[in-house]
């Protein structure tokens, strides 16, 4: 960045040092974006594992968090672009409505839980229950994911470049799961499904959106709901 650009950038960029500024001030600033403002870029330094960093965003702001965060970073994000240059604690981007959240490191449990839209990219690994109860969000994990991921997933796509842990897609509704590596075990009512051309195309778009160019969609297997638990049946009681 040349000097002029740096000067321009700093003019329209708010910096929040969470070692001296209360979290409330950051979130309050993010919730009070006035129409027509140029002040849409936020840098957060020294997050030191704080919880609820950049939650409830409802404007197309850009937030860069330099360091690792605690629970619920970018929770309920609606339209923001949040990048965590570090790792994220439980529930990152929970219930995201729209926008993009990128975690450069690893993510803990429940990443993208109940998300309704937008894109969550985790460049490291994600722990258990990644995409639990997902309702439309797209999640792309470069590494592996833990057990019970996409549990009761209703809608959206979960793409895993690495391996998946136990009970993938347990009690799944209509979420689409794509795993490139191994799946330790499938959960109740989750089955492997044929990768048809429309799925290859869908996955290719997701990979492109996540900026992944060195992996082909054909390398993935597709998993989805067998839809056998959709209507209660006593003879399936041991599967519930």
């Amino acid at each position: 960045m040349d000097a002029a650009a740096q000067k321009e950038s700093s003019r329209t960029m708010s910096v929040f040092d969470l070692s001296i500024t209360p979290l409330r001030e950051l979130n309050s600033a993010l919730h009070n974006i006035s129409a027509g403002t140029n002040d849409m870029n936020f840098e957060v330094i020294n997050p030191r594992g704080s919880h609820s960093v950049a939650v409830g965003i409802d404007a197309p702001v850009t937030v860069n968090v330099h360091g690792s965060v605690g629970y619920y970073c970018a929770g309920m994000n609606d339209g923001g672009t949040v990048t965590v240059h570090g790792s994220a604690g439980p529930g990152v981007a929970e219930n995201m409505m729209s926008g993009i959240v990128v975690i450069e490191g690893d993510a803990s449990q429940y990443a993208g839980a109940t998300g309704r839209g937008g894109l969550l990219v985790i460049k490291g690994n994600a722990a258990s229950r990644c995409g639990i109860s997902m309702k439309g969000i797209d999640i792309v994990v470069h590494g592996n994911i833990g057990h019970m991921s996409a549990f009761m997933g209703q809608s959206g796509s979960l793409v895993v470049l690495g391996n998946a842990g136990d009970a993938l897609g347990d009690s799944l509704y209509e979420a689409k799961l794509f795993v490139r590596g191994t799946v330790k075990s499938l959960g109740a009512d989750c089955i492997e499904k044929e990768m048809r051309p429309e799925h290859i195309e869908h996955l290719a778009k997701l990979l492109e959106k996540a900026g992944i160019t060195d992996v082909k969609p054909e390398e993935f297997k597709r998993y989805g709901s067998a839809r056998k638990l959709y209507t209660f049946n006593i003879d399936n009681a041991d599967a519930y």
């Binding site: 619920y72 929770g75 639990i132 209703q154």
Partner: protein, 442 residues
């Protein structure tokens, strides 16, 4: 020599009574457990087992209608920038659009608004009609997160984090396919017509330490404006209340096993959880032990039917109550005017509880547009408001007789118990004594 047994009337087993035998036959025939709506139907110790003592020489009453007896309540004074101010301590409990028709939800909002109280959303999210007709609307934050979004969170007046409910502490929900209409399916992001399962546990937090962080997130998202309630079923009221307070709740909502549900297994409704009578004193004790009684408000529910029940709940230490089943009855649920149709469904007015089937003749627990039309939301809202006002007046009448100028001034010392069970559960002396089970000196 012949011997003739004299006639003896047939004797039925108390253990295997008619209801039990019918349930065994039903299970054997269908291969499915019984799902129904409502709360427990078994007889449990309840507010009927308590009486007020009234004024006497040692304390004097207030003049009815002339000397003021305040009924107002403020909820959410601990942390919220905008606490809720209600004219009456009788609130409307959470019930979902999906479980109830749009007209029924609208009627609840109208009735609550006329009577100066709050109503509450349910599993499945907030509808525009409901928001529009409810002056004060509490938004439930449930494990399923169906229909949950930050816009609705912000346009709510309070947020209720639902951990459990009295009809099924520890249980999730089941909305059967018959009630998953296009609109319900869309709101819940589910295919139409499938049996929809609601999770029993929140997807992104476990335990009180997590809950504290979750509550903090909700406060950050809503800029610390909204009161945050935590609702629990009546299971371990002392510890649940203490942990809710520790987690940062502004208000604790405690629901006994008489509290209704839209649909759950009968075995769950009848066998899990405690009657509300047994829950209130431990919860109040927890608040008092923490120095938080009246600072964190306590709303109790489950079987509240009259102003006497309201007064008794408040005398035991609650700040407010919530009604669900009673509110539906005020709207028109189980009304004998539909008896012919109840009979066709194999039941009778007053016993109809197959709310999950969506065939409610009264048009309340249904998504069938033709049935739903039967409920006029304006008239039904008026009936609910009348009922709430009557209950409020009844509670005032009792409070004045006890010499109290605010419903919150009612106290355990105003009560006596009719039964040993009630005395033990409510820690109220047995009538005519100064003793209750568990208290020394027996």
């Amino acid at each position: 020599m012949s011997y003739h047994n004299p006639y003896t009337p047939p004797r039925k087993s108390a253990t295997f009574d008619d209801q039990t035998l019918a349930e065994i036959r039903r299970a054997a025939a269908t291969g499915i457990y019984d799902i129904r709506g409502g709360g427990t139907k078994r007889k449990v110790p309840h507010f009927d087992d308590l009486l007020f003592l009234g004024a006497s020489i040692s304390r004097y009453p207030l003049e009815g209608y002339r000397e003021k007896c305040d009924t107002s309540v403020v909820l959410g004074t601990r942390f919220a920038k905008k606490p809720i101010h209600l004219k009456t301590p009788i609130t409307i409990a959470g019930m979902s659009f999906g479980a109830l028709s749009g007209n029924a939800k609208e009627a609840l909002g109208r009735g609550a608004t006329i009577s100066g109280t709050s109503t509450t959303t349910g599993d499945g999210g907030m509808t525009n009609e409901e928001r529009g007709h409810s002056q004060t609307l509490v938004y439930q934050y449930l494990p399923s997160r169906y229909g949950m979004n930050p816009k609705d969170l912000r346009r709510a007046d309070a947020i209720e984090v639902v951990v459990g409910q009295g009809a099924k502490p520890g249980g999730g929900g089941m909305l059967l396919g018959q009630k998953i209409s296009d609109r319900v399916a869309e709101m819940r992001t589910l295919p139409k017509g499938i049996d929809q399962r609601s999770a029993c546990r929140h997807p992104d937090w476990t335990g009180p330490d997590d809950l504290e962080i979750k509550i903090n997130e909700l406060r950050e998202i809503t800029d610390w404006e909204k009161p945050i309630y935590v609702k629990v079923g009546g299971a371990r009221p002392y510890y649940d209340t203490a942990l809710a307070v520790k987690s940062g709740a502004d208000v604790v909502v405690l629901d006994g096993m008489q509290g209704g549900t839209a649909a759950t297994q009968d075995v769950f409704i009848e066998n899990v959880g405690m009657p509300i009578l047994a829950c209130i004193r431990p919860a109040v004790q927890a608040l008092q032990d923490l120095g938080m009684h009246r600072k964190v408000q306590l709303i109790v529910s489950g079987g509240i039917r009259s102003g006497a029940d309201v007064a008794k709940a408040l005398a035991l230490g609650a700040d407010a109550v919530a009604i669900g089943t009673a509110a539906l009855v005020a709207l028109g649920d189980n009304d004998p005017r539909w008896e012919e149709e109840y009979q066709k469904l194999g039941t009778t007015a007053g016993a109809y509880d197959d709310w999950h089937e969506g065939k409610d003749p009264a048009g309340i627990t249904t998504q069938d547009p033709e049935l739903a039309k039967r409920l006029d939301p304006v008239a039904a809202g008026r009936r609910l408001a009348n009922y709430i006002k009557v209950m409020t007046l009844e509670a005032q009448t009792i409070a004045r007789a006890c010499g109290k100028n605010h419903l919150h001034n009612l106290e355990p010392e105003d009560l006596c118990a009719l039964t040993m069970e009630a005395a033990a559960m409510a820690q109220i002396p047995l009538a005519g004594t100064n003793w209750y089970p568990g208290k020394g000196g027996f």
